[in-house]
Each structure stands twice: as structure tokens, then as C-alpha cells.
């Protein structure tokens, strides 16, 4: 039986549902409401209209920042990566084809930027781990007014656990699992973003899920022993 299941089961379902609802709400609404205007904004931005490009950034900044944070594990790197993502978007906006999905194209750039930044900072993994362990006070903090102390602690522990598990994954597997399980994209879409085949992405996702599950089991087992 899953060792940590009893602990996670103690988390009120309302908290989990709420967090899940917020995660899904932003991309779907942004995509449906701004699809038409986004095309017009992209055309204007491609012709050098910075105001239009700023609007594009406003439309997509939450998605980019969330993705970079999940990939890099801390706010400082996520900010730097997001800035680089938008610079690349502006630079290559002329190559964007109107029949493409803008956010898939944006995810491709984001994944590449995160890979480059992680390579540039060799201590990325250590930093991820240190932040996941709580060195960055605000990284996993949960507002006290939303949940009581016990729920906040549980929520923080869960984020910490997943952050640690994600830190053990190589870049491609981490990107695949984030796009598939966190962002909720279909496997074929993930394959297009990763410029890979669906079979390869399925294999990466399967391996990543298995690793995360094993990591969680071992972590909670150690924790129970220590208690």
C-alpha cells in the first residue's frame, strides 16, 4: 500500500480542488478569450509595435512564469528565464506562422530557454534542492488566511516533496511531465512542443511518473521512520 497515502488523504479535498481549479482556469480562459485578438496582436507586434507586444506579454506572463518556475524551481531563475523567453519571442515573432498554436510555440521557447539556463548554471540541481528544502522562504509559502496552519504545513510538504522529486529528473523528462501532468496538455501536443515523437514522450512520461512515485514512497518512508 502506498506509504504516504494516509498523510495525503488527510488534506481536505476542498483545498486540493481549489488549487486545481485555479491551475486550469487561467490557460483555458486565456486561450479562448484572446485567441482572435491574439492573432491581431501578433501581427502588430511582428511589425514592431511594442505596445502590442506588451499586451502579448500580459496575456502569457502567468503561463510562462509558472512553467519556468516548475522547470527551474525558484523565483529568481524563473524571472530571468521568463525575461529571456519574451526576448526570444520578440526576436523570432516574424517566423511565427498564423496557423500555429501560439502557446505551443511559446512552450517550445520556454522549454529551450529553461534548458539553456540550467546548462549555464551548473549548480541548478543543488539550488533546486536547497530551495525545495525551504531555503527560499517564499517559494512554498502558503498564505495563512487561506488555510489553517495544519493545512498550510501539509501543502508546503507536498510542494516540497514534488519539487525534490522533480529535481531528480533530467531536463526532457521534467519538461514532458510538467507539460503533460501539470499543464494538462495531450501527449501529442507535448511531443510537438518537445519536437519528439509521441512514443518517446510517452516513455519519458512513464519513466518520470515512476521515478516520482518511488521518490515519494522513499521520502515518506524515511519520514515515518524518523518519527
Amino acid at each position: 500500500m502506498y506509504v504516504g497515502s494516509s498523510k495525503f488523504a488527510q488534506v481536505p479535498s476542498g483545498a486540493r480542488d481549489m488549487a486545481l481549479a485555479v491551475e486550469i482556469l487561467l490557460p483555458v480562459n486565456a486561450l479562448t478569450q484572446t485567441q482572435t485578438s491574439l492573432t491581431h496582436l501578433i501581427e502588430r507586434a511582428a511589425s514592431g509595435d511594442t505596445a502590442a507586444f506588451e499586451q502579448i506579454m500580459i496575456h502569457s506572463q502567468q503561463r510562462v512564469m509558472a512553467m519556468t518556475w516548475r522547470m527551474l524551481g525558484n523565483e529568481a531563475d524563473a524571472r530571468d528565464a521568463s525575461q529571456e523567453v519574451f526576448l526570444r519571442v520578440y526576436k523570432y515573432l516574424g517566423r511565427f506562422k498564423q496557423d500555429q498554436d501560439f502557446f505551443a510555440w511559446l512552450y517550445t521557447i520556454t522549454v529551450n530557454v529553461c534548458r539553456d539556463l540550467a546548462k549555464k548554471r551548473q549548480h541548478h540541481s543543488d539550488r533546486f534542492m536547497s530551495l525545495a528544502a525551504g531555503a527560499d522562504e517564499g517559494a512554498f509559502a502558503v498564505p495563512a488566511e487561506q488555510e489553517d496552519a495544519e493545512e498550510a504545513l501539509m501543502h508546503t510538504q507536498q510542494r516540497e516533496l514534488i519539487a525534490r522529486a522533480m529535481a531528480t529528473l533530467p531536463h526532457k523528462k521534467r519538461a514532458s511531465i510538467v507539460l503533460r501532468d501539470v499543464e494538462g496538455l495531450p501527449t501529442d501536443e507535448v511531443a510537438r512542443i518537445m519536437k519528439s515523437s509521441s512514443t518517446t514522450v510517452r516513455s519519458q512520461i512513464s519513466s518520470a511518473r515512476k521515478k516520482i512515485k518511488i521518490y515519494c514512497e522513499q521520502y515518506l518512508r524515511r519520514k515515518e521512520r524518523s518519527q
Binding site: 504516504g4 497515502s5 506588451e54 523565483e75 524571472r79 517559494a139 503533460r180 501539470v182
Partner: protein, 254 residues
């Protein structure tokens, strides 16, 4: 389908990433196997945790800072969007256009040289004839002005006479004049080629017209024209020009 095989498929099964047939087989196995059913629950909980892996809410100041930095970076590039983009689009390298332009230029240059050389060849013939027919100082000077040929008087032995169309024409003309042909044929070419003009002046100059000295007027005047091609040299012999000479008298000799 045994447990080992099912365990391999469970990570994909929980998110419905398996094909329909395979998923049905796993479902059938999980319903009959307690251990594999437990694994399915664990994978589902792990996936729920992943879905909750949301970043902390970032303040608007964070987003505004990112936007400002990006706009500051692209600012110089976008200050003059119309002009800079236009210039960029104009000077953006396009291989096809570059190759087409290069080919067009090559064709134009080749055609220009071909036409220019042809025109020079056509101009040389009448000018030379004119020089021969009216060997006055002014006519020699005119022929001097031709770009491809230069007038050389009595410089070295005669070389490379074969193959010259103008010379063969000239020889025919000389041959048609009995008196001149005799004088030409009797003259030693090598010795004549080493001679200078009677007054020692260069015929290329306006004043190089030999003096109408009665003593020297009987000797033929040797005029050489060196074309641009070192293998082609035009040589002809003319009587010493006199004021009464005319093209019609030339054939009669002096």
C-alpha cells in the same frame, strides 16, 4: 497479462495514455489483482500531487518588472519600427535574388565586352584604310588615337605577319600597284625594319611626317601598327607623301 507487464503499463494507464485495447486488458487485470490495484491508487495520488505543483502567486510587481526589462531590451530596436524593419527587410539576405542578380550582371558584362570588341574591330578597318590611302600627318595622327592599336615605326624585325586580315588586304593593295610592289619586293624586309624614318622622327607624333626630301622621297615609308594582340602587327609601306599626292595617285607610286 501478468503483474510485471501491468506494472510497466500503470504509469501510462492512470492518465489514459494507453491505447484502448491495452487499457482494457490492464483494467481487467487490475480488477482481479489487489496489489496492482493498490499501485494504481498510488500513481493516481502522485499524479494529483503533480497537478497541485503550482508556483506561489507572484505579485504584479514581478510581472511588471519582467515586462519593463524586456521592453527596455527591445526598446532601441523598436524605437523606429517602420524604418528599421523596412531596412531589415530590404537588406535581408535572399539567396535566390542574390544569385539572379549575379547572373544578370555577368550576362550584362559579357554582352558589353562582346559588343565593345566587335565595334573596335569594325572601326579599325576603315581607319587603317584611311591612313593608308591618305598618309598625311593628320591621318596618321587619327589612326594613333585608336585604342587597340598603336603606331610603331621601324621597330625591330618583322614578326607575326601571318594571319592578319588587314595586312593581307594591304598587300593586295600594294600588289595592285606595280611600281610600289616592285619597290617593296626589292627591299630587304629586315633591313627596312631597322630603318628609321628619313628625318628620324616618330610617325606617331604629328610632326613625324617625313620631310619631302627628294633624296629620300623615293624610298617607301614603313609603318607598323601594333595591335593589343602581341601576335598581330600591321605593317604597310607607303610612298613618301607629297602635297600633290592623293589616294588616286597612290597606286601609281612615286
Amino acid at each position: 497479462m501478468n503483474c510485471k507487464h501491468v506494472q510497466e503499463l500503470l504509469p501510462l494507464y492512470v492518465a489514459r495514455d494507453l491505447e484502448e485495447n491495452c487499457a482494457q486488458q490492464v483494467t481487467a487485470h487490475v480488477q482481479s489483482c489487489v496489489e496492482c490495484a493498490g499501485s494504481v491508487d498510488e500513481y493516481r495520488e502522485t499524479r494529483q500531487l503533480l497537478q497541485q505543483f503550482a508556483p506561489p502567486p507572484f505579485s504584479e510587481a514581478v510581472y511588471a518588472g519582467i515586462r519593463q526589462r524586456v521592453l527596455r531590451e527591445i526598446g532601441p530596436e523598436a524605437t523606429a519600427p517602420g524604418l528599421s524593419r523596412l531596412l531589415e527587410s530590404l537588406f535581408r539576405p535572399r539567396i535566390r535574388w542574390a544569385v539572379a542578380t549575379a547572373l544578370l550582371l555577368a550576362v550584362c558584362v559579357s554582352a558589353f565586352y562582346f559588343i565593345a570588341n566587335r565595334t573596335n574591330d569594325q572601326q579599325q578597318v576603315p581607319d587603317i584604310r584611311h591612313t593608308v590611302d591618305g598618309p598625311t600627318s593628320s591621318s596618321i595622327k587619327e589612326s594613333e588615337g585608336l585604342p587597340p592599336a598603336s603606331i610603331v615605326k621601324n621597330k625591330g624585325p618583322v614578326q607575326g605577319l601571318a594571319g592578319s586580315t588587314h595586312q593581307s588586304q594591304r598587300r593586295k593593295r600594294i600588289g595592285s600597284a606595280p611600281d610600289r610592289s616592285a619597290s617593296v619586293n626589292s627591299a630587304d624586309t629586315r633591313s627596312m625594319s631597322s630603318q628609321t624614318s628619313p628625318n628620324g622622327n616618330n610617325l606617331a607624333e604629328p610632326d613625324a611626317v617625313p620631310a619631302r626630301d627628294p633624296a629620300t622621297s623615293g624610298k617607301p615609308l614603313r609603318v607598323e601598327m601594333q595591335t593589343e594582340d602581341p601576335n598581330i602587327r600591321i605593317i604597310w609601306f607607303t610612298p613618301q607623301p607629297t602635297k600633290q599626292d592623293s589616294p588616286s595617285k597612290f597606286s601609281k607610286g612615286t
